[in-house]
C-alpha cells in the first residue's frame, strides 16, 4: 500500500480524498493556487505545496508542477479527483513515466474513452447499443448537414473531448446547424483544447442514468448499480439519486452487464461510470464512459455500503477486488443535492464571495461533503460547487423527507446558493412520482413558484420585527458590501438597504 498520495484537485473532492487517505493511514499532499491558500483542502492535508496563480491553466492543470511536487514530497501516487487533469490521458501517461501511480485507468483506456468518437467506434465493435450518429468528428458544416438530414432533427452536437455540457448544442432546425456547430467548436476548443465535434440524434425527453463500475488490475470487473441523473440544468447535474425510480432488478442487471462489457472493451481499470440515455420505453443507449470518480459517487456508496475512494486506492495499489458481483447488495435509497454558489434570483448565475455565515445540516441519514467553511472566500476562478448533501433512508420517501428537513437547517450567508431550489424539487409532484427526464428542471423553473400563503403573511410580520431586532442587537460592521466600499470607495453614498443596516445600527450605538 502507498504511504503517501498527492491529491491533484481542490474543493470538496480534495477534502473527501484526503479524508479517505487519513482513514487508510496514508499521508496526503495537497496542491493549491494563489487564491486557495486558505482553502479547506490545504488545512486538512498532511502536506501542502503552492503550484501557481489562480487560473487553472497555470496551476491545477499544470502537469509539470504537479509531478514536481509529487517528486519533491515523495508521493507514490496521484489521485486526480474529478475535473482538472482527471481525464487527461497525457497526464496519466506522464505519471506512469515518472514512476508515480495514477489513481485511475491507464492512459490507453482513457484515450479510447476520452475521445467520444473513438469510444463509439470501439463500442460498435463490442455490440453495445448507442444512439445513431457519427463515430468520427465532423469535417465540415456540409457533412454535419448531410448527417443531420439522414438521422433526422433534432440533433445534438457534442465535443469529442467533452463533458459537463461544454461544447454541446441541441439543434432543432437545419437553419441553426451552422452557427451551433461553430459555437460548439469554439467552446470545445476553449474548454478542452480540442475542437473536434460529432453529431448524434437527440433523444426527446431522455433520462440520464449511469452505471458505476469497478475493475481491478487482475481482470475482475463488477457493476455497483445505477444512478439517476436526469435532473440537470445547462447539462450540469443538479440532483442525483440511487437507485433510479424506474429501474427494476432485471433492467439493472442488463445495464450492469452492458457497462461491464464497455469497461472490458476498453481494458478499463479502477472506478468508472458508464452513462446511458434512456428513452420513454426504457431502452438504454451508451452515451459515454467517465473515466474518473464522479461528483455523485456518494449515493452509490450509501446504498452499497462501500467506500469507492478506498477501493480506488486499493485497486491502484495492485490489490484484487475484495468481493464478487453477487456479494454486492443494494439497500435503501440515497439522494444528493449539489449546493452551488448561484443566485436563484439572477437566473442561477454564479455567486462567489465571502461566506459570512454557515449553518450546516446534521442528524440521521445525512452526509455533508463540503469544501467550504465560514469565513472562506469562494474564488471567482473555479467551479461554483460548494458542497453536496446526501440524504439516505430506507426508501425514497424517507430519503426525500430527510433532505427536506436537512435543507431547512442548512444556511449559507454572504453568498447566494441554490438551496431553495432543492426544497422546490423535492416537494414537486413529478419528482415525488419519479417522472423525470433531462428537461424536467427547465420545465419546473419555467413555472412560477407557489403563491404566498397565509403562514407567509405572519412570517412577514416576524421578519419585520426581526429586522429591527437585528438592527439593535447585531448591526453588523463587516460584510461583502463593506469590503467592496473599502476597495473602491464608491459605495458609501449608496442609500441601499445594506448601508441602512449599518447606519441605523451605528446611530443607535451612539445614542
Amino acid at each position: 500500500m502507498f504511504r503517501k498520495i498527492l491529491i491533484a484537485n481542490r474543493g470538496e473532492i480534495a477534502v473527501r480524498i484526503i479524508r479517505a487517505c487519513r482513514e487508510m493511514g496514508i499521508a496526503s499532499v495537497a496542491v493549491y493556487s494563489d487564491v486557495d491558500r486558505a482553502a479547506l483542502h490545504v488545512s486538512k492535508a498532511d502536506e501542502a505545496y503552492h503550484i501557481g496563480p489562480a487560473p487553472a491553466a497555470e496551476s491545477y492543470l499544470r502537469m509539470d508542477k504537479i509531478l514536481d511536487v509529487a517528486r519533491r514530497s515523495g508521493a507514490e501516487a496521484i489521485h486526480p479527483g474529478y475535473g482538472f487533469l482527471s481525464e487527461n490521458a497525457r497526464f496519466a501517461q506522464a505519471c506512469s513515466e515518472a514512476g508515480i501511480k495514477f489513481v485511475g485507468p491507464t492512459a490507453a483506456s482513457m484515450e479510447m474513452m476520452g475521445s467520444k468518437t473513438r469510444a463509439r467506434q470501439e463500442m460498435e465493435k463490442a455490440g453495445v447499443p448507442f444512439v445513431p450518429g457519427t463515430s468520427r468528428g465532423l469535417i465540415s458544416p456540409e457533412e454535419a448537414e448531410q448527417v443531420a438530414h439522414r438521422i433526422g432533427y433534432p440533433v445534438m452536437l457534442k465535443a469529442a473531448a467533452g463533458g459537463g455540457g461544454k461544447g454541446m448544442r441541441l439543434v432543432h432546425h437545419a437553419s441553426e446547424l451552422r452557427s451551433a456547430l461553430e459555437a460548439a467548436r469554439s467552446e470545445a476548443q476553449r474548454a478542452f483544447g480540442d475542437e473536434e465535434v460529432y453529431i448524434e440524434k437527440a433523444i426527446v425527453n431522455p433520462r440520464h442514468i449511469e452505471m458505476q463500475v469497478l475493475a481491478d488490475e487482475h481482470g475482475n470487473t463488477i457493476w455497483l448499480g445505477e444512478r439517476e441523473c436526469s435532473i440537470q440544468r445547462r447539462h450540469q447535474k443538479v440532483l442525483e439519486e440511487a437507485p433510479s425510480p424506474i429501474v427494476d432488478g432485471d433492467m439493472r442487471r442488463r445495464m450492469g452487464e452492458v457497462a461491464v462489457r464497455v469497461a472490458q472493451a476498453a481494458s478499463y481499470t479502477n472506478a468508472g461510470t458508464v452513462e446511458f440515455l434512456v428513452d420513454q420505453n426504457k431502452n438504454f443507449y451508451f452515451l459515454e464512459m467517465n473515466t474518473r470518480l464522479q461528483v455523485e459517487h456518494p449515493v452509490t456508496e450509501l446504498i452499497t455500503g462501500l467506500d469507492l475512494v478506498h477501493l480506488q486506492i486499493h485497486i491502484a495499489a495492485g490489490e484484487k477486488l475484495p468481493f464478487l458481483q453477487h456479494d454486492v447488495e443494494l439497500r435503501g435509497h440515497a439522494i444528493e443535492c449539489r449546493i452551488y454558489a448561484e443566485d436563484p434570483d439572477n437566473n442561477y448565475f454564479p455567486s462567489p464571495g465571502k461566506v459570512t455565515l454557515l449553518l450546516p445540516p446534521a442528524g440521521p441519514g445525512l452526509r455533508h461533503d463540503s469544501g467550504t467553511y465560514e469565513g472562506w472566500t469562494v474564488p471567482i476562478d473555479y467551479d461554483p460547487l460548494l458542497a453536496k448533501i446526501i440524504g439516505f433512508g430506507s426508501d425514497r420517501k424517507q430519503a426525500t423527507s430527510r433532505l427536506v428537513r436537512a435543507l431547512s437547517e442548512y444556511f449559507v450567508g454572504g453568498i447566494k446558493t441554490n438551496i431553495s431550489l432543492f426544497r422546490r424539487i423535492l416537494q414537486d409532484e413529478d419528482f415525488i412520482a419519479g417522472r423525470l427526464d433531462t428537461g424536467y428542471l427547465e420545465r419546473l423553473l419555467a413555472r412560477p413558484a407557489e403563491a404566498v400563503t397565509e403562514t407567509a403573511a405572519s412570517g412577514q410580520e416576524m421578519a419585520a420585527i426581526a429586522a429591527g431586532l437585528f438592527a439593535l442587537l447585531d448591526p453588523g460592521t463587516s460584510n461583502t458590501s463593506s469590503d467592496a466600499s473599502s476597495t473602491n470607495g464608491s459605495h458609501s453614498d449608496t442609500a441601499d438597504s445594506h448601508s441602512n443596516w449599518k447606519r441605523t445600527g451605528r446611530q443607535e450605538s451612539m445614542r
Partner: protein, 165 residues
C-alpha cells in the same frame, strides 16, 4: 427605537424598546409579545405566542434578506428620524440610477458607450465569474452617464459599474 421596515414591498412601522430584560414591541401600533435572543451573528431565536422562530439574516451583494423558517423575505429598514433614510434610495425612478455588480467577478467587455441612450433591460457590461458570463442590464431608460467598469478589472459585489440618468 422606531423603524420603518419594508418586507417584500410591504411597509411596517416598528417600535422596539428593551426594558428590564424584556422587549416592548409594537408593530403598526399593535403590541406583539416577543422574547428574543441573538444566538450568534445573523441568527435570532424569537419566541412569540409560544411559537419558536429561527430567523437568519442573509447579507449579500446589494441586498439583505431575512429568513423566517424556510421563507425568504426582502428587507429594508430605515430610521424615520434620519434624513438619509427618508430620501428613499436606489429605487427612485427619477434621477440617476446605479448599475451595481451583483456578484464578484471580472469585467469582460462593455456593450454600450458613454453618453449613448439605453433602454430598460439593455445589457451594458458583461461580468464573468466561475466561467459564466453575465450581462448586467440597465435598470432604467436613459442616458449612460458614466462607465466605471474597465475590461479586465476585478469587481466586488455592490461595486458601481455604470450610472444611467
Amino acid at each position: 427605537m422606531i423603524y420603518d421596515v419594508t418586507i417584500d414591498g410591504k411597509n411596517y412601522r416598528l417600535e422596539l424598546v428593551h426594558r428590564d430584560g424584556a422587549w416592548d414591541c409594537r408593530l403598526d401600533g399593535r403590541q406583539v409579545e416577543i422574547d428574543a435572543v441573538l444566538t450568534r451573528r445573523d441568527v435570532l431565536s424569537v419566541i412569540s405566542g409560544g411559537k419558536s422562530y429561527e430567523i437568519r439574516r442573509e447579507r449579500s451583494g446589494n441586498d439583505t434578506h431575512v429568513w423566517v423558517g424556510i421563507t425568504r423575505h426582502a428587507v429594508s429598514i430605515r430610521d424615520p428620524r434620519s434624513l438619509r433614510g427618508r430620501i428613499g434610495g436606489v429605487d427612485d425612478e427619477k434621477g440617476p440610477r446605479k448599475l451595481l455588480a451583483p456578484m464578484p467577478g471580472r469585467v469582460v467587455r462593455l456593450l454600450v458607450e458613454v453618453n449613448s441612450e439605453v433602454e430598460v433591460g439593455q445589457g451594458i457590461v458583461v461580468v464573468e465569474a466561475m466561467k459564466m458570463q453575465n450581462e448586467i442590464k440597465s435598470p432604467k431608460k436613459g442616458i449612460l452617464k458614466k462607465l466605471a467598469a474597465t475590461p479586465g478589472a476585478n469587481v466586488n459585489a455592490g461595486d458601481v459599474l455604470a450610472i444611467v440618468e
